[in-house]
Symmetry: C2
Subunit: 416 residues, 2 copies
Amino acid sequence: MTTKNVLILGGGFAGLECAKRLRDEKIRVTLVDRWNHHLFQPLLYQVASGGLAMAEIAQPLRSILSRQKNVTTIMDHVVHIDLQSKQVQLKDGVLGYDYLVIALGAKTSFFGHDEWAQHTLGLKSLDDAMAIRKKVLLAFEKAESAVDPAEVKKLLTMVVVGGGPTGVEMAGSLAELSRIVLKEDFRQIDPAQTKVHLIEAGPKLLPLFPGGLPDYTRERLQTMGVTVHLDCPVSEVGEGYVIAGGQRIDSGIVIWGAGVEASEVTRTLAGIPLDRGGRIEVRPDLSLPGYPEVFAAGDIAALTDKNGVKVPGVSPAAIQMGNFIARVIQNESTVSARPTFGYWDKGSMATIGRSAAVVSFAGIQMRGFIAWLMWLFVHLVFLMNMRNRISVFLHWVWSYFTWQRGARVIQSSRNP
Amino acid sequence: MTTKNVLILGGGFAGLECAKRLRDEKIRVTLVDRWNHHLFQPLLYQVASGGLAMAEIAQPLRSILSRQKNVTTIMDHVVHIDLQSKQVQLKDGVLGYDYLVIALGAKTSFFGHDEWAQHTLGLKSLDDAMAIRKKVLLAFEKAESAVDPAEVKKLLTMVVVGGGPTGVEMAGSLAELSRIVLKEDFRQIDPAQTKVHLIEAGPKLLPLFPGGLPDYTRERLQTMGVTVHLDCPVSEVGEGYVIAGGQRIDSGIVIWGAGVEASEVTRTLAGIPLDRGGRIEVRPDLSLPGYPEVFAAGDIAALTDKNGVKVPGVSPAAIQMGNFIARVIQNESTVSARPTFGYWDKGSMATIGRSAAVVSFAGIQMRGFIAWLMWLFVHLVFLMNMRNRISVFLHWVWSYFTWQRGARVIQSSRNP
C-alpha cells in the first residue's frame, strides 16, 4: 500500500470539493491556487456594488482545510503542465503527481477582441469586484464636483455587457445603488439620473431560463430604470465609449459579463482537444484522453454527460465533478471500470433586485418575492462557514430595512 | 441674517463631530476629505491583523451626513491654505470660507529619518492596514514554500516599533495570529515559531499609563511570546533589517507605530506658530493667532488647556474640540467673549490580547479580564452605526470561541 500524490490545481468549487472528499490516509493532496482564498463567486456582484465586504464571500483555503492533515495548500501560479513527465511548473517551483486534477476555472472572454480588456471591467475575482466598486463610487464623487454637464452625464452612465445572470444581477444592483441607496447623499447631482445600460447580443435576457422568465426579467429591470438593449452585439469598445447595435454610448464604466473562456494554461496541454472556449474536452469519466491519471473539472472542462446534457459552467456542476473525481481516485479503478459522470441539474436562479428573482428547477418556474426568498435561502445555506452566513444574513436584513450598503468604502485615495 | 460658510478640512473624529454639531439653517457646511469614509482608527490594528473587515471600521462620510442637508461632502486633497485671501486650494478646485476648521490629523513620523518610510509599514489609513495584512499573510505563505532555513526565519520575524497603544496592540495581535489563529494551517512551517519584536526607545511600554500598568503590559506580552526591547532606540532601518540598541534584527516586516506628526499642510500656513511635530499652536479658543475665523482641532492642534493639561492626540480630545468649535461658530461670539477649551480626560485604555487589557480613568487602574470587557464595551458603543456594531460584536464573539479571524483574505495575488 503506497501513498498516492494527488495534485489539485485551483481552489474553486471543483478543486476544493475534490480536496475535501479525499480524506484518506493513503492519499497526499497538494492544492495550488494563486489566491489564498476560496471565493463564493455567485455573490461577487454584491461586493462590486458595495453590498457585502470581501471577507464575507471569501475564506482562506488554509483555514477551510486546516484540520485535514493530508492536504498541503500552496499559494502560487500555474505556468505549465507537462503531461508526459507528470510535472507541473509553478512560478516558484515544480510539483510532480500520481493523479492530477485541473480545476483552474475560467476567465473573462472578449471573443477575440482582447484589446477591449483595457477599457472594461471583468468580474471574476475580488480584485475585479473591488476595482468596479472603486470606479463606480468615484464616478459619483467626481460627478458631484464636475462643472460640465456632458461630463456629469458621462460619469453617471454605466454599461453592463452580457444578459446572463452576472449581467442581470450587476445591472439591477447598480440601478438600486444609484436610485435608492445613494439618493440622499449628494447635493449637486441627483444619483437617480444615473443611466444603467444592459447590452445583450441575443434576443433575450437569461437565455437559459425557460418560459416567461426572460421577459419578466427584462420588464422588471426596465421598471427599476435599467435600459435593456436586446439583439445588440457590441462592435467596438474604446476609452470612454461602447458601440453596440450601431449606437454609441459614452461611459467611463463598462462592466463585461458577456462570456468566459478557459484559463490559458489549457493551451500548454500538448495534444489534448480543446473546445472553442479553450475548455478541455474530457472523457465520460472526466479524465483527459490518453491520460487516465489526469482529470479536469469545473469551468475548465467541456463535456456532454451520459444523459446527453451539455454540463453548464455553474457551481453545482463544478462541485459534482470534484466529488466524482475524488471517488474515482479513491477507488483506483481502471479506466474501463470507471463510472460515467452524470450532471444533476439542481435548477437555476438569478436575482434581479430587491424582492425580485427568477428560479427554475425540476420543471417549475418561479418569479418575484417568493423566488427572491428562495434565492436568499439557497445562497445563505451554501455560504462556506457559519460566521460568514450570520454576517451576510445580518447585512441583508439591515440593507432590506434601511436601504444602506455597508461596504461603500473606497480603499485607495489615489484616483485612477 | 446671512448664511455663513463653514469649511471643514478632514472627516476624522474632530471634523465629523464639528459638522454634525453645525445643524443650523443659517450655516452652510462643506466637508473635505481625501477619503470617502470616516475611519474608526482605534480598531485599525484589527483590520491589519485580519480580525475585522475594512467596512466594519469605516463608513462613508456621505452616508453619515446624508440627512443633514446643510452639509456638502467633497472628496479631494487639500494642497494649500491661504489665510489672507480666505481660500483653500484643493487638487481639483478652490474653496472660500467664512469660518475654516483645520482637522487634517496626523501622519506617521520618522523623527527626521524619512528614508525609513520605504522600509516600514505605517498604520494610519485603511490602505496601510491592508498593506500590513497582505505582507504578514504573504510572509507565512512564502515561508511555507521556502527551502532555506535562514529565509524561513527571516520571513517569520516581525518587528513592531513603538511601545504606545498602537505598538502594544499590534504586537499582541500578531503574536496571537501566529501562535493560535494560524497554528493548524501550515504543513512545512510551524507558525508558532514566529518571533514578534516590540521595540521601544524609552524605559517602559505605555508610558502614559499610571502605576503598575506598564509593567503588567510588558509581562503579559512576554507571556504571549512577544520579545520586548526597552531603552532601545532605533538607529537604522534598511531593506530587510532594523538596528535598535546596537542589535540587528533581520525582518521583512517592520511596522512603525513610534510617532506621529501633523499633516504637512500646516507648513503652508504663513506666519502661524507650529510645534516640533508641525502641530498648530492654537489659542485657548482653538483659533489661530490673528485669525479668529480659523480653527484647528484634533491631532493637528497643539494646546495646553485651561487646567494646564497638554491635550493628547486621542479621539475623545478630537471630538471635544470639534464640538467646542461648532458651539463657538454657532454663537458667533467675538474673540474676547469666547470660552476657553478644557479637555475632559475620559481615561485611557489599550488591549494587549484576548482577555487582557489595561484601563485607567478617574484615578482608577484596571487590568486583565475585566479591563478587557470594558475595552470591548467602550469600543462597541463608540462604533459609528448599529450595523457595524452588530457585525463587529458577532465577529468578536465568533473569534473568541473559535480563534478564527474572518478577514484573512489577500486581495491581490501580485506578490510584492
